[in-house]
């Protein structure tokens, strides 16, 4: 039999090289899968990874990469702070929905006023919505020691039900002929979050995502809170001796990640998605967890990981349409990325040894 033995000093080189290796392995295994499906693997991989960046219509798809990566990065940066400190907010998807609902509700309450302050108000309401939703598991943990993983995850399903009831009830477009869905926020000037420069895909959510990367970088490198977060994750006991309050850290990390997820939802509902609808949430909050780990919980890493993840979505859709690949094979391809990352991670932190027979 084999057993795993923790490496005393994991290699610094492999810490950075494993994500790249995981991508390469994904390409190889994915190519094999596409070949088994009877498609040209080289063409499939090229369509996914190359065409959106440098192909004929790259002028369109590059912008779409930003649109897709923006919310992923914004959410993942928030999550990474908590993950570093051992605080597991798994419910960003719910906070994302609540941000969108709060923000949209704040704006629609003022419909059809024409005022430049409406959008900033919605942004604040969106962050607040996400923050409140994250405070529920945070307070339950600090007061009653409940497990924030379960509570935050289950609140996603509560948020999903609230979203559906909003789309069918309170926020339904009164001029929508009885169909579910709110007014289109991207078509009302006061609430719209359009492309800042046409064709680039840059909207306020993408700007916020970049800003969050910079802010998180500074926080972790230069600020005492960043130090406390890192300390709490690496040596919880030492952190307590150093005067770090675990409860305060839970409230802060959950609050920041919830607010950022709420912002992502708000920017999405006012921009690319346009309206509160039953199917508004498309799993950004869950995918962001993968992005956070793929990016090594490092802000710059998350930026790159978010763009890579967006590439697999945009390129994957491209391959699916133009090469006739089944949607499930694209999802399997994305799943391989996480699988290989975890696998090579394991091997960079542990080594495999044949297990000796222990004497009784």
């Amino acid at each position: 039999m084999l057993r795993l033995e923790k490496r005393p000093n994991p290699s610094r080189f492999w810490n950075y090289a494993t994500p790249v290796l995981a991508v390469v392995l994904t390409m190889v295994a994915g190519g094999l899968m596409f070949a088994l499906l009877g498609k040209n693997p080289v063409e499939a991989i090229r369509t996914i990874f190359w065409d959106p960046l440098f192909g004929e219509f790259a002028w369109y798809f590059r912008g779409q990469l930003l649109v897709k990566a923006g919310p992923l990065i914004l959410i993942a940066v928030g999550l990474s702070l908590g993950f570093r400190a051992g605080i597991w907010n798994i419910g960003a998807e719910g906070q994302y929905m609540m941000g969108a609902i709060f923000g949209a509700a704040a704006g629609l309450a003022l419909y059809p006023a024409d005022n430049r302050l409406i959008f900033p108000l919605m942004v604040v309401a969106g962050a607040l919505g996400g923050w409140i939703w994250a405070m529920i598991p945070a307070i339950l943990r600090t007061r009653f020691r409940t497990n924030e993983i379960l509570v935050s995850l289950l609140l996603v399903y509560v948020a999903q039900s609230i979203l559906a009831s909003m789309a069918l009830g309170a926020l339904r477009n009164p001029e929508g002929g009885g169909f579910p869905g709110s007014r289109n926020l991207s078509q009302w000037a006061s609430s719209a979050n359009p492309e800042l420069i046409a064709g680039t895909g840059m909207h306020w959510g993408v700007v916020a995502a970049f800003a969050s990367v910079i802010a998180a970088y500074i926080l972790l490198q230069r600020h005492i809170l960043g130090f406390q977060i890192r300390l709490a994750g690496q040596a919880p006991r030492a952190a307590r001796f150093a005067g770090v309050s675990p409860n305060r850290l839970v409230l802060l990390c959950m609050g920041i990640s919830g607010a950022l997820a709420g912002l992502a939802g708000l920017f999405e509902v006012t921009g690319p998605a346009g309206q509160i609808s039953i199917d508004f949430a498309q799993g950004y909050g869950f995918t962001a967890i993968i992005v956070a780990f793929l990016g090594r919980l490092n802000p710059v890493g998350i930026l790159l990981a978010g763009l890579l993840m967006a590439l697999t979505y945009v390129g994957g859709d491209n391959a699916s349409t133009n090469l006739g690949l089944p949607a499930a094979s694209i999802q399997a391809f994305q799943g391989m990325l996480l699988f290989f990352l975890l696998a090579v991670d394991l091997l960079s932190n542990y080594r495999i040894r044949p297990s000796r027979k222990e004497a009784a």
């Binding site: 798809f61 199917d279 949607a327």
Partner: protein, 364 residues
């Protein structure tokens, strides 16, 4: 069309739409590329499966003169806009968007590609001359199933699994109930909302809840076979195939089915693009136009019940009978349709009330 001229036409399309959205002259084509956007996986039955059957019928009809591409499981929202743009850039001449949630995305992308035709299923917005809408009168099929349900129930309780409380679903509930009541004055209907179009586990739970209430005929407006599988566990409970025929459950519990048949419409519209005669329309066909089919009524149904159901079917198909014909009252007892009056399409498209006799409220 090669890719270079395509790019040029996309660019000039943008320029044109900026210049005020002139419409390109209609002209016949030798070959067209057709795109389909599906909301779910094609799978082995249900809504997207039926649209894909329509795509295959187009390929069969026109052979080398068409090329079709499709994308499964496209989320409604920003992704839809990107996928539509991607299809237009890939050279599609006509694109069918097969779910309600693609409405705004379809119109937004249509504005940028005035030379590409867009057909949106179940929506009502046609903001540009290159956008058409289409739907099917499913409530006509419900009238036939409702008739069977009313005659087949022994407990006088029929159940309905609703997806979302939107007009199309409410039409189906009302139509089923009206026709069940017509042949069985003692019948009552229980509605359970699943809040999903496709979720076998939730649909099974809904069916179970209905059966526990004593329901012995189940109608569903959700796509999976789970309600039939659930019905199969209890002797005496029957149901209907929904969207697809669901023939695996024949002869019982599946006693008949209501089938979405998009093939005639797709073949007709793609043909119009080939001929250069396509124009923006709002199509809403039913049994008469062949878009709604009633699947084989099995031997589990007595012959006189089958005859009664086919009578309703044939009258609707011939256009001599409208499923919503007065006298009909709303749930609160107020008059909706007077004796002999038939419902206007506009009323149906915004239907947000139950007819008299149905208890319970539509969730708001």
């Amino acid at each position: 069309m090669d890719r270079r001229t395509l790019l040029a036409s996309a660019a000039s399309g943008l320029a044109l739409s900026l210049a005020g959205g002139r419409v390109a002259m209609a002209q016949a084509k030798d070959k067209v590329k057709v795109g389909f956007v599906y909301v779910g996986p094609i799978g082995d039955g249900g809504w997207s499966f039926q649209h894909n059957e329509g795509r295959l019928a187009v390929e069969k009809e026109f052979g080398d003169r068409v090329e079709t591409i499709y994308q499964e499981s496209v989320p409604e929202g920003s992704d839809a806009e990107r996928v539509l743009t991607q299809m237009a850039l890939a050279g599609c001449d006509i694109i069918f968007t097969t779910s309600f949630g693609y409405m705004d995305a379809t119109n937004n992308v249509a504005a940028k590609f005035p030379n590409v035709k867009f057909e949106h299923c179940t929506g009502f917005k046609r903001e540009h001359p290159n956008v058409a809408t289409y739907n099917a009168r499913f409530y006509e099929g419900r009238a036939v199933c409702g008739t069977i349900a009313g005659l087949m129930t022994k407990s006088n309780k029929i159940g309905y699994i609703g997806s979302y409380p939107i007009p199309e679903v409410i039409q189906g509930i009302n139509s089923s109930f009206i026709h069940a009541r017509k042949v069985n004055p003692d019948v009552s209907i229980s509605v359970v909302w699943a809040y999903t179009w496709f979720d076998p586990a939730k649909e099974a739970d809904a069916a179970k809840a209905l059966i526990e209430q004593g329901v012995d005929v189940i109608l569903a407006h959700t796509d999976s076979t789970a309600p039939l599988a659930e019905a199969a566990k209890t002797p005496g409970v029957v149901g209907f195939g929904q969207a697809s025929d669901m023939a695996n459950y024949k002869p019982s519990p599946r006693v008949s089915s209501i089938i979405d048949n998009w093939a005639p419409y797709y073949v007709k519209r793609v043909g119009m693009v080939l001929d250069g005669t396509w124009e923006s329309t709002d199509a809403w066909e039913g049994i008469g136009g062949g878009e709604v089919l009633i699947g084989e009524i099995t031997e589990a149904v007595p012959a006189e019940v089958k005859a009664k159901a086919m009578e309703v079917h044939d009258a609707i198909g011939a256009g001599t009978y409208h499923p919503f014909t007065g006298p009909l009252n709303k749930q609160d007892g107020s008059v909706w349709l007077a004796e002999g009056e038939t419902a206007a399409d506009a009323d149906l498209l915004g239907m947000n009330f139950y007819v008299e006799g149905i208890s319970g409220e539509i969730p708001k």
